[in-house]
């Protein structure tokens, strides 16, 4: 059950038991001491009563001694003890009456002494008076009555009885004081022993429990401090790495800011160039329209040229046909001339002149044939040139058509370029604006990163502080463990 008690409850219960025992011992000791003090006071009272009784008797004796010395010598100097005793008797009687006020028997005895003492003092006065007046004989006669002696005997008897009574009381109070002292000693001794035993038990149990619990707690603290130390190490390393990374990020962001500014400037230049490009593209579009009109005119001219060339080709073909006829005629003429020459040769000398004519005709036909060949070659050249020209012009026409289409494409491309350049201009302006906003945002990020970097450095410092604190905590826990468990000292 006590295993589940808290330290406060355990210490409270243990020390409550010890305090209770000590309280009992203290109360008993106090009571006994009080009784002892009272007994001692009563003993002292008894002794004081006895001293007052003895003083009363001694003062009476001093007065009697002074009386007898004066009677014998008649010298007043012998009256000094008498006077001192007579004067002290009243104070002693009063003190004695106060001291025995709590004891009726002793009070009665002290009251019975007063008339006797008064009577004795009167007897002294009478003897002294007799001495002064009658001299020694008168004084002797006064003393010889034995009245004084009887008074003194009765006074002595009463004082002796009172003293015995005080002596008996003294014996009783001494016995009570001894008994009270013995009880006090036993009480203190056994109470102390019991208290010590209880305190020892409570202390042993408490120390054991505290050792176990505090030891466990110290172990936990050691483990936790080790983990905290490791975590602090890791956190310090991480914070250091984070601080380094933050510095690198800050450097990168500064470069990014510079790059963003350059991009903004480039975007501004791009926007300017795009505007100029848009103007040039618009001019180019107009130029393309003019060129398209010119190309259309060229295409019409080329069509005319093609038609003329085709007509020329046809005419050349007709010329060729006519030339074929001419060539055939020349060939037939040549054959006729040859045959005429053959016939002339067959006619002998009569045919010589005819042979000459036939030769001339043959030569003429040869020239015509050669000329027709040359003309045919020329016509072929013309036709080839016409064909080449037609093909070239057709190719040119096709090229012009293609050029027209391409110029149309170029015009539409220029229109698209205009649109795209406008879009690019807007995009460049947006890029410029966005880049400026981005630069501003990046500057804010840079500030935040600087703050984070500073926080990382502070975290690193805090981690180092935690590491130092955890190290101190580990050292303290080891020290505490050594204090709690000396066997654990290693």
């Amino acid at each position: 059950m006590a295993a589940n008690w808290t330290f406060g409850r355990l210490l409270g219960v243990g020390y409550s038991l010890a305090v209770a025992v000590l309280l009992v011992v203290a109360v008993v000791g106090y009571s006994n001491t009080t009784n002892l003090i009272e007994d001692s006071a009563l003993v002292s009272h008894t002794h004081q009563v006895r001293r007052e009784l003895a003083s009363l008797m001694a003062e009476l004796i001093d007065a009697e001694t002074g009386e007898r010395g004066y009677i014998i010598t008649g010298d007043d100097a012998y009256l000094e003890p008498y006077t001192a005793g007579r004067n002290a008797l009243r104070a002693t009687q009063q003190a004695l009456a106060r001291l025995v006020a709590d004891d009726p028997d002793q009070q009665r005895r002290v009251e019975s002494l007063s008339p006797l003492i008064d009577a004795r003092l009167q007897a002294f006065e009478r003897a002294l008076q007799a001495r002064r007046t009658g001299g020694i004989p008168a004084a002797v006669a006064s003393v010889s009555t034995n009245h004084g002696k009887e008074l003194m005997d009765r006074i002595r008897a009463i004082i002796a009885e009172a003293d015995r009574k005080e002596s008996d009381l003294l014996a009783q109070r001494a016995s009570a004081a001894v008994e009270s002292s013995a009880w006090t000693e036993r009480t203190i001794l056994w109470g102390g022993v019991i208290g010590v035993v209880l305190v020892a038990l409570v202390g042993f149990y408490t120390v054991g429990a505290l050792t176990r619990r505090v030891g466990g707690a110290v172990g936990s603290v050691q483990s936790s401090s080790a983990e905290l130390q490791s975590a602090a190490n890791q956190q310090a390393a991480s914070a250091k790495e984070q601080a380094g990374a933050m510095n690198e990020i800050a450097t990168t962001i500064r470069e990014l800011i510079a790059t963003s500014r350059q991009i903004a400037q480039s975007a501004q230049r791009v926007a300017h160039v795009a505007e100029e490009t848009e103007a040039n593209a618009r001019d180019g579009g107009g130029t393309v329209d003019n060129a398209t009109a010119s190309i259309e005119s060229i295409r019409l001219q080329v069509d005319r040229i093609v038609n003329h060339m085709l007509d020329l080709g046809r005419k050349s073909q007709q010329i060729g046909a006519v030339l074929d006829i001419v060539a055939e005629l020349a060939e037939q003429t040549n054959i006729l001339a040859i045959n005429a020459s053959i016939e002339a040769a067959g006619a002998g000398d009569a045919g010589n002149r005819f042979s000459v004519v036939a030769d001339e005709i043959r030569k003429l036909s040869d020239r015509v044939s050669g000329s027709t060949k040359e003309i045919r070659a020329l016509i072929d050249d013309v036709r080839a040139a016409v064909n080449t020209t037609v093909m070239a012009t057709e190719s040119g026409s096709k090229a012009v058509d293609a050029g027209t289409r391409q110029f149309g494409d170029v015009a539409s491309s220029f229109n698209r370029i205009l649109s795209m350049v406008a879009t690019a201009t807007e995009a460049a302006k947006e890029i410029e604006l966005s880049t400026k906003q981005q630069a501003t945002a990046v500057e804010q990020v840079n500030i935040a990163i600087s703050n984070v970097s500073q926080a990382s450095q502070e975290t690193e410092a805090s981690s180092n502080q935690i590491l130092q604190t955890s190290s101190e905590l580990a050292s303290l826990s080891r020290e505490l463990a050594r204090i709690i468990r000396p066997e654990a000292r290693k």
Partner: protein, 171 residues
């Protein structure tokens, strides 16, 4: 030929044509032989004009069945049907893909010989004619003519007629 050359050529032709009528008739040349320059299967040949009766071109040939490989058919020459043989086959060039366009009628014989092309009429000095040595390989070649850098073998039409006649007799 450029424009200037054409103009120059036309002027030359005009001058030659006009001169041909303005000049006196040339004298009759002596010491020369007349030949017809022909081409057979790409080879230049010459035929003595004295052995030719007439020259024809683009005359239709009616093909007839014959055992002779040189026989091409029958053509109407000077109003009478004449058997026509190919000179290319006679000279050992074989028969070409296309029928010969030109044709000559052999003098003093009813025979037509077809050939590919007429190159012209030649008047050859006799010193330019080289006779073959006896015992030559081809009996149809009777000599050669070297003129204007071209050497032409002279085809003996009489030998061709004799060869064809001998062939006909053998059949």
């Amino acid at each position: 030929m450029n424009d200037a050359e054409i103009v120059q050529r036309a002027a030359t032709l005009r001058v030659a044509f006009d001169r041909s009528f303005a000049e006196p008739p040339p004298a009759i040349e002596r010491g020369t032989e007349r030949f017809l320059a022909i081409t057979i299967a790409g080879t230049a040949y010459a035929v003595a004009q004295a052995e030719v009766a007439a020259l024809f071109v683009d005359r239709p040939i009616a093909e007839l069945a014959s055992a002779a490989t040189t026989f091409l058919g029958v053509a109407m020459l000077d109003g009478e049907p004449v058997p026509v043989h190919g000179l290319a086959a006679l000279l050992g060039h074989g028969t070409g893909d296309a029928p010969p366009r030109w044709m000559l009628r052999v003098a003093r014989s009813v025979l037509g010989l077809a050939f590919d092309r007429l190159d012209g009429q030649l008047r050859v000095p006799r010193n330019a004619i080289a006779a073959l040595q006896p015992g030559a390989a081809d009996p149809l070649i009777g000599g050669s003519i070297a003129l204007n850098g071209i050497t032409r073998s002279i085809v003996r039409l009489d030998a061709a007629v004799a060869q064809l006649a001998a062939g006909i007799r053998e059949e």
